[in-house]
Amino acid sequence: MKPLRTLDSCSLVIAQDNIDTDQIIPARFLTTTSREGLGEAAFADWRFDDQGESRADSPLNGPAAKDCEILVAGENFGCGSSREHAVWALMQFGFRVVISSRIADIFRANALKNGLLAIEVDRDTHRWLLAHPAARLTIDVALGRLDLPAAGGGDEARSVSFELDPFARICLLEGVDSLGYLLAQADDIAKFEQTREAA
């Protein structure tokens, strides 16, 4: 897992609410047995028409999509299926961070296990982010801080904090997944099994 400590990137905005994992990666791409090669499948039906041609009207096909490592999405991002392929596809497409006002449980758990930072921000911050596509944002994982730049209309630069489970934070900072930690608990697991068997 690639560590994520700080990130300075523009944001790509898809304002739509309830973006489900079928949109992030349609089911027909799930017959794979690999976790690689899924970047092309990310948002496939939004990026390509039924002839396989790029849709000019999709921000995911615009020049910003290539550079932006932060995806800002509408409310309830990642709802639906538990497919971890959605996280793999987003990361292979180039995203390291997803920001929304609400992120679905299974998607968030999957994201953090792969080094994709999924964060929820308050409604005001969310609204601001949605209204400022391509904003240059800075993220500090250790501090749990998101820096927003100054913008027109008198918006001054400001920082907002985001919550991140301390355990997930360490995994992200150090680039380790949690399986190693789990394996190290083998004695406690065995003890639990023995106690239950005896009961």
Binding site: T31, E84, A109, F167, S178, I189
Partner: protein, 483 residues
């Protein structure tokens, strides 16, 4: 201190309690796997040289990528692609290598994972159950803590039989009163999701309670818990009662004889204490519920079938309604239907097939409508065929297939064409879910069957009246369809 049912299930499985620094370590009693979300987990184990810790606690089936066509005379099956077959073969190899029981083509018990496991009595009250599939919430109908996980977590469970979890909040949805005629568990859960919203359950476990839930069959309860995830909750729960115990008695993996009665005594003790506190409490009046149907691109966009579709509240809703080609201010009744799908882990149990069959009895699928009926498991298929339901469906003009997820997720070759309207008994109406460009309207098996007969979206309570309307535009098949 008083406890919720969820607290009791959680506490009984905590290997290490959570701290500020680390999530709880939670023990998993039953791990269900299938071909789509497990291969990368097994690959991870292989890469690290790890074994499966408890092969006896893992049970596999194949359901998502599997064709629903019967094998040909040479025993060959029509996989959607070489890759789909490769995926199924990988599961076979992984199960073989790790001594995991797999219900494959030869098994009389193969089926959609959330239909099969309860049938076999693998799902029992008080257990923790996980699967790399979001509809694992289904098993909560038995008072088991059951939730969907990603592939990394599938690997965690294979290697350690445990998961790292933060304790979720609790939400109770009480439904009180009697359901009206023609109103089913599916209508109930769609109504509830419409009321609370598709993200109301995020971060929560939902316990469904109240007299309406108590009156539901186990099949109906599974339908309700199945869709807890569509309200954002990873797990749904219903306290076990006599209905649960009676349903489980005699199932293959349940204890037998005196052991069963002893187990049943424990199961019946699994309930939220009378004064237990929930983080959120919602009350729903069952008498307000009509046959429900979705009109948008998530399950919370739902109306009573005879009510007008609301005006969109925001741009996301407007976009969804444009995609679905529905007109606000008008009911969906009369909208032409291309495909009807009866199947999925939501509604492919025997009772669901009977409900659809009852509507089709002495009637026919309307001209121009393709109806696919896919039983949830081999056991369901055999039971339905013993009652002659397969014949009833095929004689009415529907296709009768072998068990699988089929058109619900549309990755096995069964899918809806671009721009087509499908009335489906499955759980998700997301854009393109049932095939690129498809338009899904979720409903109960009875409603779906009524739509198939009429050829357009129809109220199952008024089927005869709907049929009368069609007398003015008869086609030879519609003439036959007259009861």
């Amino acid at each position: 201190m008083s406890q919720t049912l969820f607290d009791k299930l959680w506490n009984a499985h905590v290997v290490q309690p959570e701290t500020a620094d680390a999530p709880a370590l939670l023990y998993v009693d039953l791990h269900l796997i299938h071909e789509v979300t497990s291969p990368q987990a097994f690959a991870e184990l292989a890469a690290r040289g790890l074994k499966v810790r408890c092969p006896e606690r893992t049970v596999a089936t194949m359901d998502h990528s599997t064709p629903t066509w019967a094998a040909d005379l040479q025993g060959q099956r029509r996989y959607a692609s070489e890759q789909a077959w490769e995926q199924v073969r990988t599961l076979m190899e992984n199960c073989d290598r790790h001594d995991i029981t797999l219900h494959d083509w030869d098994s009389p018990n193969r089926g959609v994972v959330h239909v099969m496991a309860p049938e076999l009595g693998l799902t029992r009250p008080g257990m923790t159950i996980v699967c790399g599939d979001s509809h694992t919430s289904t098993h909560g109908a038995f008072g088991a803590l059951a939730f969907g996980i990603g592939t990394s977590e599938v690997g965690h469970v294979l290697a350690t039989q445990c998961l790292l979890q933060r304790k979720p909040k609790t939400m109770r949805i009480r439904i009180e009163g009697e359901l009206g005629p023609g109103v089913t568990a599916k209508d109930l859960v769609l109504h509830v999701i419409g009321k609370v919203g598709v993200d109301a359950g995020t971060g929560h476990v939902i316990e469904f309670a109240g007299s309406t839930i108590r009156a539901l069959s186990m099949e109906g309860r599974m339908t309700v818990c199945n869709m807890a995830i569509e309200a954002g909750a990873r797990a749904g729960l219903i306290a076990p009662d006599q209905t649960t115990v009676d349903w489980l008695r005699g199932r293959a993996h349940c204890p037998q004889g005196e052991d069963f009665e002893r187990a049943a005594g424990h199961w019946l003790s699994l309930a939220s204490d009378a004064d237990a506190q929930f983080d959120r409490d919602v009350l729903v009046d069952a008498e307000q519920i009509a046959p429900s149907i979705t009109y948008g691109t998530h399950p919370g966009m739902v109306v009573a079938i005879d009510q007008a579709v609301p005006y969109p509240a925001d741009t996301t809703a407007a976009r969804a309604m444009d995609y679905m080609q529905v007109e606000p201010g008008k009911s969906l009744l009369g909208r032409k239907v291309d495909v009807v799908f009866v199947g999925s882990c939501t509604n492919a149990r025997l009772g669901d097939l009977r409900a659809a069959a009852e509507i089709l009895r002495d009637r026919r699928v309307a001209d121009g409508v393709r109806m696919l009926v896919v039983p949830g498991s081999e056991q369901v298929r055999k039971a339905a065929e013993a009652e002659g339901l397969d014949q009833l469906f095929t004689e009415a003009g529907a296709e009768w297939r072998e068990p699988g997820c089929s058109m619900c997720i549309a990755m096995n070759g069964d899918r809806v064409g671009p721009g087509q309207t499908v009335v489906s008994t499955s759980n998700r109406n997301f854009e393109g879910r049932q095939g690129p460009g498809s338009r899904t309207f979720l409903a109960s098996p009875a409603t779906a069957a009524a739509c198939a007969v009429v050829g357009s979206i129809a109220d199952p309570r008024r089927l005869d009246a709907e049929a009368e309307v069609h007398i003015h535009f008869p086609s030879p098949r519609n003439m036959e369809a007259r009861p």
